[in-house]
Symmetry: C2
């Protein structure tokens, strides 16, 4: 195992359609993990979610999250990001990032379609500001 | 999006070297997610971990976990398992599953090597008994 460099870490997180596995704590204190589509805004990780979702309510209540991205083929690598959370409902920003994120995961030809679908009232932009990053490459070596 | 059948869900979880993304809650109440290697024992999901790890201490303290497995290419699918946790340190069982899990992720020719490495005092078998399974196929369709 070795530690990735900062630029390697960023490239790893942005490679292809790799999803983020978002961890949050529910109202009852239980852990939850769900896949999200994300991108970067500067050094922050950003994604869209609806205000009715369990993850949104938990993130608003707790202000903290964890994001994991991994490569699940030998020799196995992963990046774990512990983060604080801030929330924005400015529709211009929500739609702008929904378009960018849609393009990443569904292809540039469908970016506008996803921007329009997710850039509507009720959708929020969630911003994760990293507080600790663990970036482990070639774990099984 | 559609819901997977039970047999499809099990096959999805066991496909190739797909890792589980384990979610737990730290002592400070923060969420954590890390990749694990796992297999099934009956209807339980089992994996090995060391008693000095953060995840082990959290699982012993809280008795609950969440496991996510996803396919991060279009059309995107995932299985989320909410579970209760039980812990076993019987070395025969620890080594037996360490061997099976090593074979799954590193190939049958290296199964015994991983069984020997992870079947030692201090290593535990963690058993996740599902309490709720969410199995969503073709999420972006």
């Amino acid at each position: 195992m070795r530690t990735m460099t900062d630029s390697e870490t960023r490239a790893f997180l942005l490679e292809g359609t790799r999803t983020g596995k978002l961890g949050w704590v529910g109202k009852d204190g239980r852990p939850h993990v769900a896949p999200i589509w994300f991108t970067f805004d500067g050094d922050d990780i950003v994604f869209n979610t609806h205000e009715d979702s369990g993850k949104f309510k938990a993130l608003r209540r707790t202000g903290v999250a964890c994001l994991l991205v991994d490569d699940d083929a030998p020799p196995f690598s992963f990046v774990k990001v512990d983060a604080t959370v801030s929330l924005e409902d400015d529709l211009v920003a929500v739609r702008s990032f929904a378009t960018k994120i849609g393009g990443r995961y569904m292809g540039e030809d469908r970016a506008e379609e996803f921007g329009a679908r997710n850039g509507v009232p009720g959708e929020w932009l969630v911003r994760l500001t990293p507080t600790k990053i663990t970036a482990a490459a070639e774990v099984s070596n």
